[in-house]
Assembly symmetry: C2
Homo-oligomer: 144 residues x 2
């Protein structure tokens, strides 16, 4: 569990026998460079367009799907809001601003024991999602 870098992602794709195309490079760049913003498909698409002359939204979606299916990045799925993607695979809490949509990481002081859960319930944990919703400091300062 770590913060994935460009080389990590490319290396892993290569190892799986997948192709490194200009589109994928641009998408991975956009993903990694905007990591702390937890970008959505649209932002990644717009950023990727700057580097690769030809990219389509479908390709962005396909690549993000491939990466998260392989466990190389984490997809954060929402209902009304665009999904967001995270190259930080370490276990952490996400603080999500309900006004501006900003998502920032917060390291947990202590994590919940997954073995404890399995022992008590038989449930085997494969991945976690911990989100706190509210308002970020910037939005609280802003009027309205």
């Amino acid at each position: 569990m770590k913060i994935m870098k460009k080389e990590d992602l490319i290396g892993q794709l290569r190892e799986k026998g997948l192709k490194i195309t200009p589109q994928r490079l641009a998408i991975i760049d956009a993903l990694v460079e905007n990591r702390t913003r937890h970008p959505g498909a649209t932002l990644i698409y717009n950023e990727a367009k700057k580097k690769a002359k030809r990219v389509s939204l479908s390709t962005v979606y396909a690549t993000l799907k491939e990466l998260s299916a392989s466990g190389l990045i984490k997809a954060m799925e929402f209902d009304r809001m665009e999904n967001r993607y995270d190259a930080n695979l370490s276990e952490h809490l996400n603080l999500i601003c309900k006004r501006c949509g900003a998502i920032v990481d917060f390291n947990l002081p202590a994590t919940i024991e997954q073995k404890d859960i399995t022992r008590k319930t038989g449930f085997v944990v494969t991945d976690t999602r911990m989100e706190y919703y509210g308002y970020c400091g910037d939005c609280l300062k802003r009027p309205e």
Copy 2:
């Protein structure tokens, strides 16, 4: 923070000057009686149809929206999966089976200090979402 019962929900709606219609009663019943299953709109719709002669999916959605906007129940939103609703407002962890979609509650041994977060980041927490994904005991026993 508590587990909402039928009377709680109806009382709160009344206090807000909202109408108690047969549809809403049926929806609230379905919600409360299936609380531990964390029902989705479709399940609630099908259950509600048994009690109220006339209900539509739109009404189910409208009512669930009203209840969650008022903070009387908690909406759990997903992307590819139907949203699920929870009348248990206490802070707890949800264990979500990726195979059968079952959602069960798990009480937390200790919760993360929200004041700590505000002090360190300026972010004010209004509601939380803590989910662990994986496979439930039943699905693990089952072949395939």
